[in-house]
Symmetry: C2
Subunit: 358 residues, 2 copies
């Protein structure tokens, strides 16, 4: 059956890595007889903003909601539009409007990728960050008072709902249950953030009662970031609020070598709306336009998309091809961040042709 995919490359290196993601998806679809149909969208970009004065057209919701998934690059080009305007006007809007309340981000030490931490090899680090993706610290309630005076004050509300907290905890506990170690870690800060975080802890405790088979613990976010560095092999599934999950899902990939390879899935588990798949990295203005961005985060996000669409065989094929190309250590295809002298395309091409010949 046909699957329709909305492709939104966005800004900067998003424009460079999305084509490589599509190249690999095309190769693996052909091999597995999957019918992927892509539609291209130019909104959610600084170019679109410059032409229209908004990040999205008025009918964006209806244009996108019928797709089976959204394949997203990166958004953000602060020279043209401030980040909070571009992000709240696109990506953060998608997450909330399409109720993609799970942001799932694997952290895995891959072969051929050098970890900045000494003493760990491929396979030693392998965990998921499950991030709440629609509420919490990313709130739109708040404002400014006594503007422009010495008494100026700015407030912003963190908002947690029982529905919002429980559903991400349930997803995380289910995921932990499905894994060999059945271990869940909750990120908190209930000693300092004294209203919302104790509530988070309370709901974790209630949820855990339905999962006697899952071993769980909790750490305050400060010492948890320290433990990501000191004991990265201690984690299996880490569940966190929107902000804490954001932090941990950049730190985790950094501990496994480079955020250039890290993928993410913004999931609406009920399938009421399309889910969105994007690399963890941003638009990277500093290296944009040079053709040297690592496309693996985007390609791996494509594998997560295939998985979500039920194409697990194809998804596994993509992951195996990524690992095989990384293991080869072939400097002529690998991008500079991986120690090579290849380009975005040479790396995408190598992965695509590995799939064909696998």
């Amino acid at each position: 059956s046909q699957k329709s995919i909305a492709a939104i490359p966005g800004d900067g290196i998003g424009q460079e890595v999305v084509p490589e993601g599509r190249r690999v998806l095309q190769a693996v679809s052909q091999k597995h007889g999957i019918d992927l149909e892509f539609a291209d969208f130019d909104f959610a970009s600084a170019d679109y903003y410059q032409a229209h004065g908004t990040m999205l057209p008025e009918d964006w919701f209806d244009s996108l909601r019928g797709f089976d998934a959204i394949f997203f690059g990166a958004v953000g080009w602060p020279d043209v539009v401030p980040d909070h305007v571009s992000l709240w006007g696109s990506l953060l809007q998608f997450r909330r409007s399409f109720d993609q309340y799970i942001n799932l981000r694997p952290c895995r030490l891959l072969p051929g990728v050098k970890s900045p931490l000494s003493g760990y090899g491929p396979g030693d680090v392998d965990f998921y960050v499950v991030r709440e993706n629609t509420e919490g610290e990313y709130s739109s309630i708040g404002g400014k008072m006594f503007e422009g005076t010495d008494r100026e004050i700015v407030v912003q509300e963190t908002v947690m709902t029982r529905t919002g907290v429980d559903r991400v905890l349930k997803f995380a506990f289910d995921l932990a249950r499905s894994r060999p170690n059945q271990h869940l870690t909750s990120a908190t800060k209930s000693n300092g953030i004294s209203i919302t975080m104790p509530y988070w802890d309370e709901r974790v405790k209630v949820m855990s009662e339905g999962y006697p088979d899952v071993v769980w613990d909790q750490f305050h976010i400060d010492i948890l970031t320290a433990n990501f560095v000191l004991k990265p092999n201690n984690f299996d599934v880490v569940v966190a609020s929107n902000l804490f999950g954001d932090i941990l899902s950049d730190l985790g990939p950094a501990c496994t070598g480079t955020i250039g390879v890290a993928p993410s899935a913004n999931i609406n588990p009920e399938g009421s709306f399309p889910s969105l798949f994007e690399p963890v990295h941003g638009s990277a203005p500093d290296i944009a336009g040079q053709g040297i961005a690592n496309p693996i985060g985007q390609i791996w996000s494509g594998a997560m998309m295939l998985d979500h669409l039920g194409e697990t065989g194809a998804s596994t094929d993509v992951l195996e091809a990524i690992e095989s190309v990384l293991s080869s250590g072939d400097a002529s295809v690998l991008t500079p961040d991986l120690g090579g002298r290849g380009t975005t395309s040479s790396l995408g091409e190598a992965i695509a042709s590995t799939i064909v010949s696998q």
Copy 2:
């Protein structure tokens, strides 16, 4: 002239490391002819809470405000009193009531301490985290609604004031100006936290105009934690909100080996109230009572206290003694977290006697 110090060991390993801190302070004071007078307080502890039902006596403010400084261990014993109750009832109360609006935390790779990051040696990493310490995400405004129902909702306000933001920025820019690299990094998250963090950025920009000699940049907190791991030698002075500073000042010390050696100073720069000196680590229930806690975080906090009291020579002496004992690699005095088989006392004693014989 006499300096009066309030000693508050608190809970867990606080009880074990404060005596070692005092031993070292005694030794260095004797050597430099400094007259330090200690007074002991048993409040701000779970024991006190069990006996009195509160963390502090009613007159705590008046009892403490006349001291020149507070030498603090650690507080928190969740089996007896929930962390947010014990912390808001003591440490966080002190910080706010004594307007200790600067939390200064050095991160330095010391000789003899193994960093989990490969490729860095002593001297390569040497920066300060300057944390806002009285407002921001650590707020007491918020609450719960529709309690106990499916519609349950919890909110908590982040509050930033111009006064609060500007004064910590000023301190950080001044500190950056005084250092060889004159480099300041601001921690933000203005792409996601769209009201308070853009305000923070705005104030950084305004403040920077008074410091043309300081080179500054800003990173979103997610990628900043990644950069602590990937490029720890890129930092000089990092200024951050209360929560972000809390995170960065645990992560930084983890990147330099162990949070057991990390000190902190909660400073009221105007001297209207006593400042408070405490290790970054907590009460560590898991190792409390075994006599194996590393006292260096506490001892180094003592050095920061001497510095604050104007005794810079004595402060330098303590730091040199710490480095010398660490460099010795003497496993019989070093604590287990440093790879030794010594105890809290053996390490404190070694540092004290090094000072005497220096």
